[in-house]
């Protein structure tokens, strides 16, 4: 032991054993952790190559489905009166072939994508938007609780088909009807989801602190609540898209979906189904596009959900 001490003694200059200058700032310099919620979320999100590929693909499909109708000269509703132009197999002229009346399926697919996307976006927007607002009101008002829970139980437990059919039937088929019938149900699920989140935010200490400071409701919403749930909003909206596209297909099958002359992916699949044995491409190609979109958004939504959970920020 003594030896080591001696050795150390020899090693150091005794001037080192005098008072050092104390730096207040240095002592406070914590370790600012490099953690940033959004940066970590996106890093985790984009860590997977699959997600990058899907996001790129979806961006491409989205872009294409909105640009194609603007720039293409092919009219997706152009009917041929000559039966020789009907039901053509895929070729260079018609990449996806033509349908029963000689309309170009490739063009229809893009128009269909655009319309289905628009519908799905609207539904996502309203579901999540209304759901969030309703959830907030629900979360903030205890008296509403029993009513809302009962409403939730009813709306989620009566088979959704019944509900959709009833509404779609009362109101005639159109984009608006489909939108209303789907949006009028979707919000309650979202509302409950957001209610639970908002409830925990409501009772959190920082929110109570804001109340103690007399912060008005509006600022509480914009400063305390929305920033906390924005990632949930994005995720729920992403997951809404496959759901609404799927519902569109189902309602088409039941016969209360879109007007049949509307070009949507759901309609294309349902129409193609009738001629599946003879012209499988008429169903398969739109189906492939549709599945690609639903699967991609499902994965993107779920991965984003994982990524936005701070527990996964490793």
């Amino acid at each position: 032991m003594q030896n080591t001490l001696n050795r150390i003694e020899q090693m150091h200059d005794s001037s080192l054993f005098t008072a050092a200058v104390f730096d207040q700032a240095e002592s406070e310099r914590i370790g600012v952790s490099n953690y940033s919620y959004w940066r970590s979320t996106f890093r985790t999100f984009f860590k997977s190559k699959l997600v990058i590929a899907l996001v790129a693909l979806m961006a491409a499909i989205l872009l294409m489905s909105f640009l194609y109708p603007l720039f293409s000269k092919v009219d997706p509703t152009k009917v041929s009166t000559r039966s020789r132009n009907w039901n053509l197999r895929p070729s260079w002229d018609h990449l996806f072939g033509t349908d029963t009346l000689g309309r170009d399926i490739f063009a229809r697919a893009w128009y269909g994508c655009r319309n289905s996307f628009l519908l799905a976006f609207c539904i996502a927007l309203s579901d999540v938007g209304i759901g969030m607002i309703a959830g907030a009101i629900w979360g903030y008002n205890r008296k509403l609780d029993p009513i809302m829970i009962e409403l939730y139980n009813i709306m989620t437990n009566i088979p959704s088909t019944v509900y959709l059919v009833l509404l779609a039937y009362i109101m005639n088929t159109s984009y608006l009807t489909l939108f209303i019938s789907m949006a009028s149900r979707g919000w309650i699920v979202e509302a409950r989801f957001f209610r639970n989140r908002i409830l925990s935010i409501r009772d959190s200490e920082y929110n109570i602190a804001s109340r103690c400071l007399g912060t008005p409701m509006f600022r509480i919403a914009t400063r305390n609540i929305i920033p906390q749930i924005i990632s949930l909003i994005i995720m729920e909206a992403a997951l809404c898209i496959p759901y609404s596209i799927g519902s569109e297909v189902f309602l088409g099958f039941v016969g209360v979906g879109m007007p049949v002359d509307a070009i949507t992916l759901g309609n294309m699949v349902n129409q193609g189904r009738a001629s599946f044995t003879l012209h499988p491409y008429q169903m398969l190609l739109p189906t492939a596009v549709l599945c690609l979109i639903t699967v991609a958004f499902y994965i993107i939504g779920n991965r984003f959900a994982d990524a936005s959970d701070p527990r996964n920020h490793l």
């Binding site: 003694e9 080192l16 008072a19 207040q24 310099r29 370790g31 952790s33 103690c212 305390n224 490793l314």
Partner: protein, 663 residues
């Protein structure tokens, strides 16, 4: 001088543990060593993030998935456990040879399985015994850890047990295989003081009976003083001082240990600042050069910043990693000791608050608060009456669930509809429907400081906004510049610089966050502040900072505090009067010194006796009182002034009895 009781059981040598966190490497343990001898208790003391928990987790191979032991040896029965690479090897040690008890008994047990099963399964698993045998042993174990009616309790679920009882069950499960080492990871932190004392006694008794070694992890020096034979002080992933408990307490050598002991409020002098450790603990993402504590040590030497000190022996049973023990630092050290002695001797306690002249600021009359829980109504606060005088600090002390926080929140008008009774501030009733103006005025006059610095700041808002929130609400500034100036000034007052303004709360340490929280409340210039356990979530080294800050603010701004706490140590230092609350009722109210010197109510006595005191000599010989009233009855009880300004809630006979006992 003290010898080890038995042979060396476990030797951890230069353990290095690294975590991969968000793509960055964090060195949680930077070469820590510890020896555990048979039949002894070694306590590891450190603040959160010091690595004490991670360190012990390596003993049973339970590091999180992103952590890895990167260096060192872990010798147990001659085997280096760091080389274990299969789960099966660990299964032979874990639970059987080395067992562990976690901090929170509420979550340590599977809520949907009978507690008996959860103990018996260990026995069945490790000793391949039949169910009946295991059950028999389990019942014995339950008896051993002090659970009545073990046969019946066997079939109950954790939900039917109180926290202390659950911790007993957890301990029973941990000792079911008669392990050689029991690691207790802050086993009493989540418990109330009175229960804590009982659980500590149980652990000590079991250790004695079974001859186990106990590794005790805690941040509470009082607990260390109570249980440990040996103590190791951990800082920034390293053990910086190790020794026999008495020696370390009486003659701490490392500046950190010293500072830690000095900063305890029990040792503070009323009316003066506590000795406070500056700054915040270091960031383990970066490489640390020299003594990790040096940046926070005002009396650091130059060498502390350059090179890490070796373990200098203080005695045979005590060493510390500080250059102060180096012969070359002899002069510096002596000067230091002299300086310390001087500062300590000049402090005389401040005069007690003068209640004869005091005018009440806030009056609470017959306050009751009830909550709906399922279909039943629970009274959290039950007819509570007290006044707070202008300029005083009234502390509200009680165990968790006693209703103390509820009172605070009721005063803040956080509840609606479930509050009965009157709360008046400056003579005006405030628990009624107020108009916007009145409410605004009230918000400016009454503010609250919250318990959890992590939860009480909105982590998606910048510090600038957080502090300005109140200013925005009532537009308390002339222009943007004025606002910034106000925020800057406030930050400076709580000891933070203005460049923190643009940062987010998660970039700060707990203590810094709590100071931001205080700044947020005080920027409104309130007259009255409800401080809801503002220090209980903070690390020991930080607490003094915050206590000093609160005291300074009180002095400078003439504030009045309602200080809510469960911990008597800080309360004594900070408060003028103390109100003890038990199950929603005030049971005793007196000035600070009066209460400590002459506690009347048995619950107060139990509370005082159970509070850990950071001195092994005191702690090891203390008797813990307990208060378990058979039946809470309010019949005949009233609010009695037993001594001047000393109130008591009891029947006349009881009061007489209590007073008699104290004379």
């Amino acid at each position: 001088m003290k010898e080890h009781k038995g042979p060396l059981l476990l030797a951890a040598k230069d353990i290095v543990v690294k975590f991969n966190l968000r793509g960055q490497e964090l060195t949680a343990i930077r070469g820590a060593s510890l020896d555990v001898y048979e039949g002894e208790t070694v306590a590891i003391v450190g603040e959160s993030g010091s690595g004490k928990s991670v360190f012990t987790k390596t003993f049973i191979g339970m590091l999180d998935a992103n952590g890895k032991v990167e260096g060192g040896e872990l010798l147990f029965h001659g085997e280096d456990m760091t080389r274990y690479d299969t789960e099966n090897q660990w299964l032979k040690v874990r639970g059987k040879k080395i067992a562990m008890v976690f901090q929170d008994p509420m979550t340590s047990l599977n809520p949907v399985r009978m507690i008996g099963e959860q103990i018996a399964e260990v026995i069945i698993w490790h000793f391949h015994k039949s169910h009946d045998e295991a059950k028999k042993e389990t019942v014995e174990l339950l008896t051993k850890v002090g659970i009545d009616e073990p046969e019946r309790r066997y079939r109950q679920y954790p939900g039917e047990f109180s926290g202390g009882m659950r911790q007993r069950v957890v301990i029973a499960a941990a000792i079911a295989c008669r392990p050689e080492i029991l690691i207790c990871d802050e086993p009493t932190t989540a418990l109330d003081v009175t229960v804590q004392a009982q659980v500590l006694n149980l652990i000590k008794a079991l250790q004695r009976e079974m001859g186990m070694s106990v590794v005790f992890i805690t941040h509470d020096l009082g607990v260390v003083a109570n249980v440990a034979d040996w103590m190791a002080v951990m800082y920034a992933g390293k053990i910086i001082e190790y020794g026999e408990v008495g020696e370390v307490f009486h003659q701490p050598e490392h500046p950190y240990t010293k500072a830690l002991l000095r900063s305890l409020p029990q040792l503070g002098v009323k009316g003066h600042d506590l000795y406070a450790i500056q700054g915040t603990p270091p960031n383990l993402f970066k490489e640390i050069r020299g003594d990790a504590f040096a940046p926070r040590n005002p009396d650091a030497m130059k060498i502390d910043f350059l090179e890490e000190a070796p373990a200098f022996p203080v005695s045979e049973t005590h060493w510390a990693r500080t250059w102060l023990l180096s012969p070359q630092a002899k002069a510096f050290r002596e000067a230091l000791i002299k300086k310390e002695a001087e500062t300590r001797s000049v402090q005389t306690p401040a005069l007690p608050f003068d209640y004869e002249q005091a005018e009440p600021l806030l009056s609470v009359r017959d306050l009751s608060v009830h909550f709906k829980l399922g279909s039943s109504r629970v009274k959290a606060v039950d007819h509570v009456t007290f006044d707070i005088y202008k300029g005083e600090t009234l502390s509200l002390v009680g165990e968790s669930g006693s209703g103390k926080t509820t009172i605070g929140r009721a005063i803040m008008s956080i509840y609606t509809g479930n509050v009965e009774g009157d709360i008046s501030f400056k003579g005006r009733k405030i628990n009624r429907k107020l108009n916007k103006k009145e409410r605004g005025k009230l918000h400016m006059e009454i503010q609250m400081i919250f318990q959890d610095p992590m939860a009480s700041l909105n982590d998606r808002a910048k510090v600038d906004y957080i502090i300005s929130e109140g200013l925005y609400n009532y537009h308390l500034f002339e222009n943007e510049q004025d606002r910034l100036a106000k925020v800057e000034k406030m930050l400076a007052e709580v000891g933070l610089t203005s460049d923190f303004m643009t940062r987010f709360p998660h970039e700060f340490s707990g203590g810094q966050r709590q100071r931001i929280g205080i700044a947020r409340s005080l920027v409104m210039n309130p007259d009255f502040v409800v401080a809801d356990e503002p220090i209980s979530a903070l690390d020991v080294s930080i607490r003094a900072q915050v206590i000093n800050l609160l005291n300074r603010m009180k002095k400078e701004r003439g504030l009045t505090y309602l200080f809510i706490a469960h911990d008597l140590s800080a309360v004594r230092f900070i408060s003028d009067r103390i109100a003890v609350i038990y199950r929603g009722r005030l049971v005793e109210l007196a000035t600070c010194e009066e209460l400590f010197s002459r506690p009347l109510h048995p619950y107060t006595k139990a509370l005082l006796s159970a509070a850990p005191y950071p001195d092994p000599d005191v702690e090891k010989n203390k008797a813990v009182l307990s208060y378990h009233p058979e039946r809470e009855s309010r019949e005949g009880k009233e609010w009695i002034e037993a001594f001047p300004f000393h109130f008591l809630y009891a029947t006349r006979e009881e009061a007489e009895k209590y007073v008699h006992e104290n004379i």
